[in-house]
């Protein structure tokens, strides 16, 4: 269990928390903004690079693989069955429309091709955010989040929330492993290798995790507040160390993200007829093809 929560030495640990947070937020924003599957794969690859810079141990890689499998399975499964867009092509009939009651009510339950594709696209988005998020959580002293985020002018409560969320990612992973184990011992036919079995027991799996997290988060908030955090503006000022690498990461991440978001906004304005500029025709073409 210690294995899952220890801060390991790694290239990513050398970046300061602000740079890492900018990196994670940029990846998440790009993952949400971009629709082109090939470009999304590139974002996912960038996230994988960030993840590998955290030098995760084998236990952490196994855990990541489990979380990814669960994410992909859950997203694809739900989208495949409940895809509501058109056109949609049924590829498998699960419940015929003639089946009494359930078939009559639902008009039949199908697996839709477009739903599977959409689910896969959503999975890539989630994977991109998850990989970078885990890497940052595993390589950052939570207290540094407070110091650095407060230091660059972010409100104390927001800095505290950020710190708590990152502080609990590794513990969540460790708790998830224990809960899974306890469920197995209690006779739940559940296995890491069979995501369907995890889905069947999803509610029983998530309830204790959620309860433990809420309780821990509350205890941590009390602990932090009872050490004087946020009660005055007199906090000792620490020199915030931004190396050249930090600046390079922040500037690159922000530039790429702002550029892509701007292009998407311009393209959106063009497609809905709100704004068109003939000089931007190459920008529109780029957005249509790659974003």
């Amino acid at each position: 269990m210690i294995e899952l929560t220890r801060l390991e030495e790694s290239p990513l640990r050398r970046l300061n928390p602000v740079s890492k947070l900018v990196l994670v937020v940029s990846i998440a924003v790009l993952a949400i903004t971009i629709d082109n599957v090939d470009t999304l794969k590139l974002v996912c690859l960038a996230s994988l690079l960030v993840y590998s810079l955290a030098k995760p141990s084998l236990a952490r890689i196994k855990l990541t693989a489990f979380l990814l499998a669960l994410t992909v399975w859950g997203t694809v499964f739900s989208q495949a069955l409940f895809y509501s867009g058109y056109p949609r092509t049924p590829i498998v009939e699960l419940v015929s429309p003639e089946t009494p009651i359930i078939g009559w009510i639902t008009g039949g339950i199908y697996v839709y091709l477009e739903g599977v594709e959409y689910g896969l696209k959503q999975s890539i988005r989630l994977i991109a955010s998850l990989l970078a998020g885990l890497a940052v959580a595993w390589t950052t002293d939570p207290k540094d989040f407070l110091i650095y985020l407060s230091g660059v002018g972010i409100s104390k409560s927001l800095a505290l929330s950020t710190m708590i969320s990152f502080r609990f990612i590794p513990i969540f992973a460790s708790d998830a492993s224990s809960t899974l184990a306890v469920l197995k011992l209690r006779g739940a036919g559940i296995s890491k290798d069979k995501p369907a079995s995890v889905l069947r027991y999803a509610r029983k799996f998530l309830t204790p995790l959620y309860a433990a997290l809420v309780r821990r988060a509350r205890t941590l908030s009390v602990a932090i507040e009872s050490r004087g955090y946020g009660q005055s503006k007199r906090r000792v000022k620490y020199e915030l160390k931004f190396t050249r690498l930090d600046y390079a990461v922040i500037i690159t991440a922000l530039t790429v993200t702002l550029l892509i978001v701007s292009i998407k906004i311009l393209f959106y304005a063009y497609t809905v007829g709100a704004y068109y500029n003939p000089e931007l025709v190459y920008v529109y073409a780029f957005a249509r093809k790659y974003l």
């Binding site: 269990m1 210690i2 294995e3 929560t5 220890r6 801060l7 141990s57 084998l58 236990a59 002293d141 939570p142 207290k143 540094d144 710190m163 502080r167 513990i171 708790d175 224990s178 809960t179 184990a181 306890v182 469920l183 197995k184 011992l185 209690r186 006779g187 739940a188 029983k204 799996f205 309830t207 204790p208 995790l209 309860a211 433990a212 309780r215 821990r216 509350r218 205890t219 941590l220 908030s221 009390v222 602990a223 932090i224 507040e225 009872s226 050490r227 004087g228 955090y229 946020g230 009660q231 005055s232 007199r234 906090r235 000792v236």
Partner: protein, 529 residues
């Protein structure tokens, strides 16, 4: 002398509860005073502490009536932050959830940094606070790699570094090994004198307080029972009037024996009391468990670790557990007790060695982790009893467990809405409802009062005898082990350093020191046969 706490006709009621959890009447505590807050599980101790420091209603909603004044302020209006600026501080039970920095030094320095003190002053306070809790040598250590006891001491040092006027401690040593607990308790006992700081200490482990010299006759003691203050006065009076016993507070065993023999406890001086009893008639006998020769679990040369490159957490571990046996795993924090139980549960694969079961490992093993939250997976207490590997539900047996463990009236409730003590009891009852042949419990007495500990011991003893099962529990509770277990296995750095009957092992000073244990007073007084 100024009063730091003034309560008048206070009532606290949590949402959804019919009756108030606290109905405190009048209470006044002076500056620099040391107050012991005692009561059974669910008697309102934690509620009172949370009320005083503003955690209620800041973090926990509750309807509060009456007048509450702490350090001249109103916690209801000023909240936790306001109370901290007035000089109040609180330490909660779970150290893991209270730490957030990478190193001990950085954790302890966080409070003084928030006060805007100079770098020199921050360093001075860190050094002082770590000295008080005996962790000066560990200041550069990674907080994740600390043992449970060291973690709790770090948390205590972190609030001490703020130099509070009123320190509220909610079962601060509940997860420490006996020697760690003694060192922390000894510090806490001296805080009013050394740091000019008032202390309100809520704790179940009175045995450790007594061994640390905190339980003196004249210590001011407030006893809560069902939310009401039923006693406020000197501890000596509470003990001799039988108030602690009547309220379900777990007194040191030596007090009970003395009262039984002499009608009262003539002195609270530990050495004198032990001398008084020494050589007298034996008052206890060894556990009556009927052990059979039939081995249910045989562990051979077991080695285990986390990850492929990690250090071995278990080394050369070999032992057997027989039918009907209740065995205890003892040792310092991080000595491998929990890891051993994870291996036996099949949750961690050993690198080397074997575990041979004369039972079905898929069906006959139950394991309740130290954090009961991770065991409780259903939407109601009643549903918890239905999830077990046999898929069976023996209503008569479940009703017996519910009655014995005081869970009546909780069946319709959500398990996570209960107190920690109740959650753990629900988890134990649910585990037993599956009728396992091997039941493993991690720290089963933490946060439990005497009634619940007695009930747990009684149930386990009859269960093991009737079902021909065995139990293994990881615990720091030397008194529980002495009174209830037939064997103790002592681990240190992942290796077994001793194994045998508790009355023999727990008197061996060499083992006691190595394993950070404590010789129970009953053994010191020679009243154990």
């Amino acid at each position: 002398m100024n009063s730091v706490v003034v309560l008048r006709k206070v009532e606290v009621k949590y949402p959804g509860e019919v009756k108030p959890s606290l109905k405190a009447g009048e209470l006044t505590i002076d500056d620099g005073e040391f107050v012991l807050l005692l009561g059974a599980s669910g008697s309102g101790k934690s509620t009172l502490l949370k009320l005083l420091c503003g955690v209620i209603p800041c973090y926990q909603k509750a309807e509060v009536k009456g007048e509450v004044e702490v350090l001249g302020g109103d916690p209801q209006r000023e909240g936790l932050s306001g109370m901290v600026s007035r000089g109040a501080a609180i330490v909660l039970q779970n150290p893991d959830a209270q730490l957030f920095s990478a190193t001990v030094e950085s954790e302890v320095g966080f409070g003084p940094e928030n006060l805007g003190l100079s770098r020199g002053e921050v360093e001075k306070r860190v050094k002082w606070a770590l000295g008080v809790v005996g962790m000066t040598d560990l200041k550069r250590k990674d907080t994740v790699s600390l043992s449970g006891g060291q973690k709790q001491r770090t948390v205590i040092a972190s609030v001490l570094a703020l130099k509070p006027r009123l320190l509220l401690l909610d079962e601060p040593v509940s997860q420490l090994d006996p020697q760690g607990s003694l060192s922390v308790m000894a510090c806490i006992g001296q805080l009013p004198e050394k740091a000019g700081c008032g202390v309100i200490l809520a704790e179940h482990r009175l045995h450790d307080l007594y061994a640390a010299g905190i339980l003196r006759e004249d210590v001011r003691t407030v006893v809560l029972d069902d939310g009401r203050i039923v006693f406020d006065g000197e501890l000596g009076k509470a003990v001799n009037k039988g108030i602690l016993e009547a309220c379900g507070v777990r007194e040191p065993g030596i007090f009970k024996v003395t009262r039984k023999l002499y009608g009262s406890v003539p002195t609270f001086k530990r050495e004198e009391l032990i001398k008084t009893l020494a050589g007298g008639e034996s008052s206890y006998s060894s556990s009556a468990q009927s052990l059979q020769d039939h081995v249910l679990v045989k562990v051979n040369d077991l080695w285990a670790r986390y990850g492929r490159r990690g250090a071995f957490v278990l080394k050369r571990v070999s032992f057997e557990i027989r039918k009907g046996e209740m065995a205890a795993l003892m040792g310092p924090n991080a000595s491998g007790k929990t890891t051993l139980m994870r291996v036996l549960s099949g949750l961690l694969k050993p690198v080397k060695g074997s575990v041979i079961f004369d039972l079905n490992p898929r069906r006959d093993i139950a394991y309740v982790p130290q954090n009961p939250d991770l065991y409780l997976v259903s939407d109601s207490v009643a549903e918890e009893f239905r999830l077990n590997p046999r898929g069976s539900f023996d209503e008569k047996f479940v009703n017996f467990l519910i009655g014995e463990l005081g869970l009546e009236g909780l069946l319709g409730k959500h398990p996570h809405a209960l107190s920690r003590g109740q959650r753990f009891r629900v988890a134990v009852a649910a585990a037993l409802a599956g009728k396992p042949k091997l039941i493993m419990l991690d720290e089963p007495t933490t946060g439990q009062d005497e009634r619940n500990i007695d009930a747990l011991a009684r149930i386990l003893e009859s269960y093991l005898a009737e079902r021909e099962a065995c139990a293994l529990m990881s615990t720091h509770d030397v008194e529980f082990v002495l009174h209830n277990c037939s064997r103790v296995i002592v681990l240190k750095d992942g290796e077994i350093i001793a194994s045998g009957p508790p009355r023999k092992i727990l008197r061996n000073e060499n083992i006691i020191e190595k394993a950070c244990l404590r010789v129970p007073d009953e053994v010191l007084a020679g009243i154990w046969s």
